[in-house]
């Protein structure tokens, strides 16, 4: 499956799960801020991706489990270097370059873009293709 084919399937999945228009699901769109996904939608997205792509997604594999609640990883409202390192290790499909410039906990949700989901699927399918 090519990068574009994966993107199209992810796009269809997000349109279905979030009730948004196809045009809104751009690679850089943030799931929460731009597509108005709520926490429960993440459960739905994980399930639908499993159905569409036929693989199993473990808990915390696509979206992290409570890293932001760990006091070792969050201090003064910001994610610590250790926290960012932990997130990077858990979420190799996510691009942290923008987040690292201002690692406010309140901005953690912004790292989950459509592109991050596409990257995740590509990795799961064992592919390294790019558009």
């Amino acid at each position: 499956m090519t990068h574009d084919e994966i993107f199209e399937k992810v796009q269809e999945t997000l349109v279905d799960a979030l009730g948004v228009d196809e045009e809104e699901v751009t690679p850089e769109a943030v799931l929460t801020k731009d597509l108005e996904a709520e926490s429960i939608d993440f459960l739905d997205i994980v399930f639908k991706l499993e159905q569409v792509f036929g693989f199993k997604i473990e808990q915390g594999e696509l979206f992290p489990d409570n890293v932001a609640q760990d006091p070792e990883y969050v201090q003064g409202g910001k994610v610590t270097e250790k926290g960012i390192a932990a997130l990077k290790e858990k979420l190799p499909h996510v691009d942290f370059s923008e987040f690292e410039k201002d690692p406010q906990v309140s901005r953690v949700g912004d790292i989950f873009t459509v592109d991050a989901v596409v990257n995740f699927v590509e990795r799961k399918l064992g592919q390294t293709t790019s558009a």
Binding site: A17, S39, I40, L43, F47, Q59, D65
Partner: protein, 170 residues
């Protein structure tokens, strides 16, 4: 009125599947408002679709709750999809067949098929289905303070499980 929209559980495979039925009765108060006679139009008492969905949610929620030994507060979080093609009238029986398709710490995903037995002895007719997502409220509370006790699965659910012969896990 008790908020109970299934009458009996017919089948239960823990962690996998639950089948429940609901008999629609003309003694149910809401059927007189849904829909009353108006002008020359006769009354048309049918089970509201929203309550059919509640029956689906109760079946799926019990299946998900039982799978976690009723330790989680299983709340209906999202109706991801629902389809209903036909009404259910008094004297007819609805059957909800729920399958647990995903379960983790944060919640559960269920798919429920909806069948109707139009008259006694008649074979069931598939009239719809629904895909319902449940949240384990303590894991997704987003700052909400929730009571310690499991307020979701109260006495009415216990009665239903007992009368259906379903063992309640310790």
């Amino acid at each position: 009125m008790r908020w109970m929209w299934i009458d009996r559980i017919l089948e239960h495979v823990p962690g996998e599947r639950m089948v429940a039925v609901k008999g629609v009765s003309l003694s149910e108060e809401h059927l007189y408002d849904h829909f009353p006679a108006e002008g020359s139009r006769e009354a048309c008492p049918v089970m509201p679709a929203t309550l059919i969905l509640e029956g689906c949610a109760q079946t799926g929620g019990l299946l998900a709750g039982h799978a976690e030994r009723f330790k989680q507060k299983v709340l209906l979080a999202k109706i991801a999809r629902a389809r209903l093609e036909r009404e259910a009238a008094p004297g007819q029986i609805l059957r909800y067949s729920a399958t647990l398709v995903r379960l983790d710490d944060f919640g559960a995903h269920t798919i429920i098929d909806i069948d109707l037995f139009p008259e006694p002895g008649a074979p069931p007719v598939r009239i719809g289905d629904a895909e319902i997502v449940f949240s384990h409220a303590d894991q997704n509370r987003s700052g909400l303070e929730l009571p310690e006790e499991n307020f979701v699965f109260g006495d009415t659910f216990t009665t239903l499980l007992n009368s259906s012969g379903i063992e309640i896990p310790e």
